[in-house]
């Protein structure tokens, strides 16, 4: 390992030992997360101080600066990563809580959500393909509107790169959060239910948490859009990939 700062010999031995253990990656992730949450609260929850985005930036910088490989880091971080699976399943609980609202407007919700989902996924893939991006990048872009654990699963199944997808999901969420209220004003979307549904469909949890700050109903519809779009996108993106011949 080529550290930027040369370590004294005993410390080097400690470092070399820790690099083989999961403890380092695990505690680094948790410490950085706590720091990021603190910064986000201090900056009053701006779109660009999202704790997930901040933590990824800080940890990536740390890895590059210390010359630590991602594999070494992931050796410990995998214990956190594993919880994504059960957390995805757990999305059924808030979906159940919103079931009355889903059932009441089922056709409206299903049609609007599917249309937005198909338009977003196909335009993203077609634009990137037309601009000469390789297949891995194009396929990894397909599920970028849905919540990260689901997006990564879809990407992996289609031969995309899950970590690229995770980055695209974040970019989409940050951009969606920044522009959603402006878009709704321009397109004259006034109903909170429509705003929440659109935010959750196009830009998952990041935009939904922004809507939640504005209105409870919008937040609830955003929440149900996250889960529902996860299911719709899982079905739609593989179909789009084969229709477009990607």
């Amino acid at each position: 390992m080529h550290n930027l700062i040369p370590l004294p010999l005993p410390l080097f031995h400690v470092w070399a030992y820790l690099e083989t253990q999961p403890l380092l990656g695990l505690s680094a992730t948790l410490c950085v997360w706590e720091a990021a949450v603190f910064i986000d609260e201090w900056a009053r929850h701006k779109a660009f101080t999202n704790p997930t985005v901040l933590s990824i930036l800080i940890l990536a910088t740390l890895l590059l600066a210390t010359g630590t490989s991602y594999k070494t880091y992931f050796n410990g971080a995998v214990y956190i990563h594993f919880l994504l699976g059960p957390a995805t399943v757990a999305l059924a609980v808030p979906m159940y809580a919103n079931w009355a609202a889903i059932r009441k407007n089922f056709i409206a919700i299903f049609v609007s959500l599917s249309a937005g989902s198909i338009v977003a996924a196909s335009s993203a893939m077609l634009i990137a393909h037309a601009m000469g991006a390789p297949r891995t990048v194009v396929v990894s872009l397909g599920p970028k509107s849905v919540t990260t654990p689901i997006a990564m699963g879809i990407s992996q199944n289609l031969g995309g790169q899950p970590s690229l997808t995770a980055v695209f999901v974040m970019m989409t969420g940050m951009f969606g959060t920044l522009v959603c209220t402006g878009v709704f004003r321009l397109a004259r979307v006034k109903d909170w239910r429509a705003q929440g549904l659109a935010a959750g469909t196009a830009a998952h949890g990041l935009a939904t948490s922004r809507m939640l700050l504005l209105n409870q109903t919008a937040g609830a519809f955003g929440g149900l859009a996250i889960g529902l779009n996860g299911i719709v996108t899982s079905v739609v993106v593989p179909v789009l990939v084969s229709v477009f011949g990607l």
């Binding site: 997360w33 956190i80 699976g85 249309a115 970019m171």
Partner: protein, 115 residues
């Protein structure tokens, strides 16, 4: 808590077995989500322990995708080479997605109140 985790993991396991067995392109955990939703609808809602554990996990969902996101360090070259295509694709598709869903949904809701 252990019982709730067992339920969540069993749903994920069943979903993964179904996915691997049938070759469906839908991720195993998503199939698990659908199964759990079906179970909740049939039994009339989550027991308190399941609801609390689910809420606890989802509260820290942001933390759970940090390790995968850090994987960006292995993709820096791919990102740098395609940064313009990626940015344009994300900007345009997110704007379109927000508009299509928002406009359609408000049209449906207006029609409903007028009817």
């Amino acid at each position: 808590m252990p019982r709730a985790l067992t339920i969540l993991l069993l749903c994920q396991l069943a979903g993964t077995i179904l996915q691997q067995g049938t070759g469906l392109p839908i991720p195993g955990p998503v199939l698990g989500l659908v199964m759990l939703l079906g179970y909740l609808l049939k039994t009339g809602g989550p027991a308190p322990h399941l609801r609390d554990t689910a809420q606890g996990l989802l509260k820290y969902l942001g933390l759970l995708f940090v390790p995968a996101g850090v994987g960006v360090v292995t993709e820096l070259q791919e990102l740098r080479q395609n940064i313009i295509a990626i940015s344009v694709a994300i900007f345009v598709s997110t704007l379109l997605g927000l508009m299509v869903t928002g406009v359609l949904m408000s049209w449906f809701l207006r029609k409903q109140t007028n009817a």
